[in-house]
């Protein structure tokens, strides 16, 4: 399997990109180990691997952000050192970052010429760019109004601007880093059409992703990275998702979630007419009503930014709201001074927040300090009226780390030194082991490697099977479909509709996520 078989239409031609023996270390961590890869021109080449496998480092070397410790880069057959991103751009390489690098209050046109102005005066550059954009838009289905401000564009359109920026700089090679993370299924499909058009015009595309479905759908060739090494390069047509997952993780992985049918009990959570207005005066929740029963997972699907985060924050006591929330039939005080995370925990609500690095964990705190975060006032952790019982907390953390297979199992290690998956296991261990009546989970597997995803899903299902209510928010439609017992779709601060996972599909949910009610249409 290992080797450098390549696919491409123009056999015999020099590869568009060839990396030979690239190595890069950050201190003791070997991020890239002797990596060689050939990407043929006019192909879409996928690079897949778990978080921390070294994909981003490799791309950063190719784009001149890092310098490799060893190895050579060839572009179209000629050795090309890339010391900085300017050199990458002049070698015809364009990069579309996961987090867009656009000036929010500039127009599309201004963003496109930023850094590529022809002279001191903007006018000639702008009119030249206007012509080029028009041509590019028609060639590749990259339609964006050049005079709109970036902040007024949807995420999908902002991404198009990033692609246009690269093309305007005459890129022949396009690197896309996790491009579909923020897109609706429809937007993702449109992106793939754009990429196919680009390939037809002879552009070479490197697609970095952790989504197996995308790799299977669009790439010609796929390279798999694991722990800094390139473990295999195969033709997409000759492989399967199961095979790729195994290559990524190094062992057989269960891709489907294995669960019994739910046996829902009485309502644990009842939410009625929840409204949230944020600091800018924008209404984020526009009257949300839902319920979650004991022994049931309610999945909230939706494109990120449609109110799911606010819903979780209100339920978790972070954001103020109006409306009514009942837990176990008892009304929760939403307006009082004591409506905070502490009051929610006291009512049996546990919360795995969407952003574990900024909310769920204190990255500089050691694992044992994080293991009581939010529960630090619990009498169990106090030695006496004044002091905390640190040895007891440490011992308890050690036990929880063992039960949740957190690696390394070292309670004195700072949270930032764990991998994403292990960080998430620490948060889950803390929240699930409280044995809550209601578990709020936001993006449980974002930035988590495939091996840990399986484990995390199983633990959430176990909690459900123990008769607890679970509210799951995820932007990964696959996760929602496989985990949920019921699915509610959110769009623009409202619930667009509820579906049962067995009776719906990605297409219908995608329409709801885009604000189109499937029934009405």
């Amino acid at each position: 399997m290992a080797g450098t078989q390549t696919a491409g239409r123009s056999d015999g031609a020099a590869p568009a990109i060839e990396l030979k023996g690239i190595s890069k270390a950050f201190g003791p961590v070997q991020a890239n180990k002797d990596i060689s890869i050939r990407v043929m021109p006019g192909t879409i080449h996928g690079i897949i691997g778990e978080n921390g496998a070294g994909k981003s480092t490799l791309m950063s070397i190719l784009y001149g952000f890092y310098r490799a410790d060893a190895g050579e880069i060839f572009i179209n057959g000629t050795p090309t050192p890339i010391p900085d991103s300017q050199a990458a751009i002049s070698a015809g390489i364009g990069m579309v970052f996961q987090h867009f690098k656009l000036v929010q209050n500039f127009t599309v046109l201004e963003n496109v010429i930023l850094g590529a102005e022809d002279g001191a005066l903007l006018k000639p550059s702008l009119s030249k760019a206007r012509g080029t954009l028009k041509r590019l838009a028609e060639e590749y289905e990259l339609h964006v109004d050049p005079d709109t401000l970036i902040e007024d564009l949807s995420v999908g359109h902002q991404q198009r601007v990033e692609i246009l920026k690269a093309l305007y700089r005459a890129a022949d090679i396009l690197i896309l880093d996790e491009p579909t993370g923020v897109l609706t299924p429809a937007e993702a499909d449109h992106l793939f059409r754009i990429l196919e058009n680009l390939r037809r015009e002879g552009k070479t595309i490197l697609l970095i992703t952790h989504k197996l479905r995308e790799i299977m759908h669009i790439t010609d060739t796929v390279s798999v990275m694991r722990r800094g090494e390139m473990t295999a390069t195969v033709k997409t047509a000759e492989t399967s998702p199961e095979n790729l997952a195994e290559l990524m993780v190094g062992r057989k992985v269960l891709l489907r979630v294995d669960k019994k049918p739910a046996a829902p009990g009485p309502n644990i959570l009842e939410v009625e007419n929840l409204r949230v207005v944020d600091d800018d005066g924008v209404e984020r929740l526009k009257g949300v009503s839902l319920n979650v029963r004991a022994g049931e997972i309610l999945g909230i699907a939706g494109v990120s930014g449609n109110g799911q985060s606010q819903l979780l924050e209100v339920l978790g006591g972070i954001t103020r709201a109006t409306g009514s929330i009942r837990v176990n039939g008892q009304e929760i005080d939403l307006s009082g001074r004591h409506s905070d995370g502490q009051s929610r925990r006291a009512r049996g609500i546990a919360h795995v927040p969407e952003d574990r690095q900024h909310e769920g964990l204190i990255m500089d705190f050691m694992a044992w300090e994080n293991m009581i975060f939010g529960y630090h006032n619990d009498p169990a952790w106090q030695k006496n009226a004044l002091l905390m019982d640190n040895p007891a907390i440490r011992a308890d953390t050690e036990a929880k780390m063992a039960r949740f297979d957190v690696r390394p199992p070292n309670p004195a290690l700072a949270a930032k030194n764990f991998s994403g998956g292990n960080q998430q296991k620490i948060v889950l261990a803390r929240e699930i082991e409280r044995n809550p009546d209601l578990l709020l989970v936001g993006q449980p597997t974002r930035g988590v490697d495939i091996g840990a995803i399986e484990f995390i899903h199983q633990r959430i299902i176990e909690l459900r099977d123990a008769g607890k209510a679970i509210l799951l928010v995820s932007v990964e439609l696959e996760e929602i479909l496989s985990m949920s017992d019921r699915i509610a779709v959110m769009f623009d601060g409202r619930i667009m509709g509820e579906r049962l996972p067995g009776e719906t599909d990605e297409k219908e949910l995608g329409l709801l996520m885009a604000g189109m009610n499937g029934k009405a249409a």
């Binding site: 201190g27 905070d340 502490q342 204190i362 990255m363 106090q382 004044l386």
Partner: protein, 364 residues
Amino acid sequence: MERMPQWADVVLVPLISLLMAFILSALVIVAIGEDPVAAVKMMVNGAVGSTYGWGYTLYYATNFMFTGLAVAVAFHASMFNIGGEGQATLGGLGVAVVCLALPWPHWALALPVAVLGAALFGAAWAAIPAYLQARRGSHIVITTIMFNFIGASLLNYLLVNVMRPVGSMDPATAKFGPGTHLPTLHDILAVVGIPFSRAAPANISFLIAVVACFLVWLLIWRTRLGYAIRAYGKSEPAAVYAGISPTRIIMISMLISGGLAGMMAVNNVMGEAERLIMNSVEGAGFIGIAVALMGRSHPFGVFLAAILFGFLYQGGAELALWTSIPRELIVVIQALVILFTGALDNMVRMPLEKLFLALRKDDA
């Protein structure tokens, strides 16, 4: 990924910074035609060569411990309290009010009340900027620095118009009664038979400062409140997620910080001057920032850094007294130490980190 051993971070980095500051200071002394070796000898001798020198070094160090702890506690809540100067000034007012209010029969009775008064006044002076930060979002750096000036002016007014004894031309309070005279280190050490200079101002406040260091350590690393303060200081969104109220943490940590700064007055006002004069703090509030930075906001580090700055103060004073090195140059040397240990911390840390990583790689 571990960076470098903790001992290197805590010990080596400040030591190298200090060494660099001294080398640069030596060059400055050479440049004005003096002998740096003789100057160092003079400083060491003057600061720690006699019990008289130690008495002054520890007296200054006591001031810096209180103000250093004040800055350190606020740092843990990610508040930059640079109002130690004003809070210590007001602490002096608290001490003066306590000492002048009653004809105290014995210092052992006056001391706890004076400590309380100093802490309350200092805390009150920190409370207003803290409230403005917590509720109005006014930046604590701006408000605390403004409150230094307001505090100085307020004291000026009170000393001239209210607290000045009738007939005195001096903008200062009357001398405190004999029942408020604190035992000096001479008195304390005489009990166990150790001879110590009678003239030096170091007093029992030094022991209070040491206890304060320990209590702050206990607070930050062993209590629920300290846990919440550190959590808020590291990440506000995380604190809100956990149900820790930012307003509460800002208020409490600033009250503790202001209280500690105010307690410095027990040393300089009650222990040394025995009356309240203008500008009694003499910049100790600002030195506290350097002490906290150098001590990496750890009470033990603050303790050591305060002694170092006490040494620099006393040694510098001796230098100005006995050599032709001008007083201004002493300030330059002190400033260099602050610059290297506080502001240029990363200049030393980053190459050192690289060195350690390179060494580790060779081992692996």
